[in-house]
């Protein structure tokens, strides 16, 4: 019986290793594809003209894909990072003894914000905050803050009371309790929230171009205006690749930060 279990274990460990290799290879492939597409206008034209032979143009008139991708990543990462920092901090605060009163407010606010469609949040930033990338960033941040916050709260709530109890029993300080006992337990849930926000932000940031936020939305919008699917696809390919790359990176991250 014991030997059988051992065998099974080593088998699954091996399977995990091959999985990891596959993952890394996949990530490398995705990054290569992205770089190829992003850096060379020939590649873009080649692919797009193959799919849409009848279109007049395959590149944006003023900006290169590289520029737009830079802006897009900047906007998305900045919003996600801001939301992650603020969200996790608030999440920790409201799961401590003194902050628990705010939990219900946070959860209700979360449900309330979720009723707004993402495109509405971005576009609303214009009348409220004005035109440009800063209002877009703020809107993205606000919209992705709550999923992270919600997951953080749930993550900390799901830490077994026995664990907290025994940590206290060992004489850990509040900070040690948080860092050693609770955080590792809540981390997978938090990471899922951040991953979710990143993917959401990538897509929502495309709408940001409408209110002057720049990014890959620029080429998509001009494709829409010119009735040119090739331009739309060009932006979409990059966004999709960024999403898949992000997904893989987060999976690897969760693999290496697992306890």
């Amino acid at each position: 019986m014991g030997r059988c279990a051992l065998k099974l274990y080593s088998k699954s460990a091996k399977a995990e290793d091959t999985n990891l290799t596959k993952r890394v290879l996949l990530l490398a492939l995705l990054v290569t594809l992205l770089l190829l597409f992003m850096l060379s206008e020939q590649v873009q034209t080649l692919i797009l003209s193959f799919l849409f032979p009848s279109e007049g143009r395959y590149t944006h008139s003023r900006k290169t894909i590289l520029q737009m991708t830079g802006e897009h990543i900047m906007l998305t990462l900045l919003a996600t990072a801001l939301a992650a920092t603020v969200g996790v901090l608030i999440g920790i605060a409201v799961t401590r003894k003194g902050g628990q009163d705010f939990q219900i407010l946070i959860l209700r606010l979360n449900a309330f914000i979720q009723t707004f469609p993402p495109s509405a949040v971005i576009i609303l930033a214009y009348p409220v905050l004005g035109f440009g990338w800063k209002p877009a960033l703020l809107a993205l941040f606000l919209y992705s803050l709550f999923p992270i916050l919600g997951n953080t709260v749930v993550g900390f709530q799901s830490v077994a009371p026995e664990i907290k109890e025994s940590a206290r029993g060992m004489g850990m300080t509040a900070l040690q309790q948080l860092w050693i006992a609770e955080f590792p337990q809540a981390w997978p849930m938090i990471l899922t929230g951040i991953r979710h926000s990143y993917i959401l932000n990538l897509g929502t940031a495309a709408i940001a171009a409408v209110i002057g936020g720049g990014g890959l939305g620029t080429i998509i919008i001009s494709g829409l205006a010119l009735r040119n699917s090739a331009l739309v696809l060009s932006g979409t390919i990059v966004i999709s690749l960024l999403a898949f790359i992000g997904e893989q990176v987060f999976l690897l991250l969760s693999r290496f930060t697992r306890t």
Partner: protein
């Protein structure tokens, strides 16, 4: 003399001559005080932002006015809700708490609207008959504080609703006197006239047709994925790919293929299916709504406990009876929740239909963006949000009614 008894509590104790505690001062904030301080902070912050913007005419420069530049009466009005919330923080009796928080919330909605009416006449006095004004970030912040007041109430009660209805009636009465005539969104609404109703109806139509198509396709796909591994292997990767495509792009990707199709097959063109217009918008919207519908339905069907199915089989139900009497009723709340998520999402995304020549409220929004008219965008967005909240409410009531009583109030797993 008071002394602190330990580092992590906020008690201070006063000791008598023989070390007996004679008094204890508690410096901890209670629930009400903590929440009230958040709200007060927001109110306070709102005073430092422009409360409204005025313009001599549609294209002239904005003139910002903060709360403190309003007339004393207006300032008094706007100070009342924060004052009530401060009172709430120290209220001891149950009815006192309830009265202060309710009044603060309802008046917090009422007074800004009245201030807007008063500002309206000031503006037209100062800038003439072409003048217009609109609320600005200070007022939005102020209203956020009010929303938080309502969200922090333990329970939303009938008198809260009555209060809101009263405010709405008062606003309508004031509006009928023409006090909001110089408000930007009112002016834009007038400009559009009957087009506003038309676009609202078009928006609803777009949403419902797309959602209908999505349900008809999505639920069978969810069932197929639930029943067979092969179907799942096709459906889920497709959904995941779909999820990485921004909604705005999905509309554009259809332009060329659809126009090619309609050029090749003229009968499609006659049916209205071509690269631009409502047809590609509906296709894109229903494709996008597939994700939540399939995801939630699949989860709903697969989270039914195996023991229940075993018991049903054991008592001799045939497969058809198991579906009808066990699986469908148990999965219904989850499936409907998915449709609800899809509904909210589709109302939002339908805004983008305008970008490929479709109808709906996106027309107002994007024309507004094109003309840099904040008021026009605001008008469109407010209508979209009103539409979202109203349909969400109606749908929630519907879900409640069709959920078996035993399953009501239980959380539904999310995809």
């Amino acid at each position: 003399m008071y002394r602190s008894i330990s580092s992590d509590t906020c008690f201070l104790e006063k000791l008598g001559p023989n070390g007996v505690i004679v008094d204890r001062a508690d410096f901890r904030l209670n629930f009400q005080q903590k929440l009230a301080s958040v709200v007060l902070l927001l109110f306070f912050a709102s005073f430092f932002f422009p409360f409204y913007l005025a313009r001599e005419n549609r294209i002239s420069e904005d003139i910002q006015s903060g709360l403190l530049s309003l007339s004393p009466l207006c300032i008094l009005f706007l100070m009342l809700p924060p004052l009530l919330i401060a009172l709430h923080a120290f209220a001891r009796k149950g009815w006192m708490k309830e009265v202060t928080i309710t009044l603060s919330g309802v008046l917090g909605l009422f007074f800004p609207m009245m201030v807007l009416a008063i500002v309206g006449s000031d503006v037209s006095d100062a800038f003439g008959s072409l003048a217009r004004y609109s609320p600005a970030s200070g007022m939005y912040l102020y209203l956020t504080a009010v929303i938080i007041i309502f969200l922090m109430k333990p329970k939303f009660r009938l008198y809260d609703l009555s209060g809101m209805i009263l405010v709405a009636l008062a606003v309508m009465f004031v509006a009928s006197k023409g006090s909001y005539d110089r408000l930007g969104i009112v002016l834009e609404g007038r400009n559009f006239g009957s087009r506003v109703t038309r676009e609202v109806l078009a928006h609803i139509r777009l949403t419902f047709i797309s959602l209908g198509i999505s349900i008809v396709i999505g639920i069978p796909l969810a069932l197929a994925s639930f029943q067979g591994k092969r179907a799942k292997k096709i459906v889920f990767p497709f959904l995941n790919l779909l999820q990485t495509i921004p909604s705005i792009a999905l509309f554009g990707l259809l332009i060329t293929p659809l126009s090619l199709l309609s050029r090749t097959f003229p009968f499609l063109r006659e049916m209205g299916i071509k690269g631009i217009g409502n047809a590609p918008a509906i296709i894109a919207l229903s494709t996008y709504a597939l994700y939540p519908i399939i995801r939630y339905s699949f989860t709903a069907f697969s989270s039914i406990e195996e023991s229940v199915i075993q018991a049903a089989k054991g008592m001799g139900m045939n497969p058809f009876q198991i579906w009808r009497m066990v699986r469908f009723p148990l999965a219904a709340p989850g499936v409907l929740h998915g449709i609800r998520v899809a509904l909210i999402q589709t109302i939002g995304n339908a805004t983008l239909a305008k970008l490929i020549g479709g109808d709906g409220l996106g027309v107002l929004v994007f024309e507004g963006l094109g003309q840099a008219s904040v008021d026009m965008v605001l008008l469109g967005m407010l209508l979209i949000i009103a539409l979202t909240i109203a349909s969400d409410r109606i749908f929630q009531i519907f879900i409640y009614l069709v959920t078996p009583p035993a399953l009501r109030g239980k959380a539904v797993g999310n995809g």
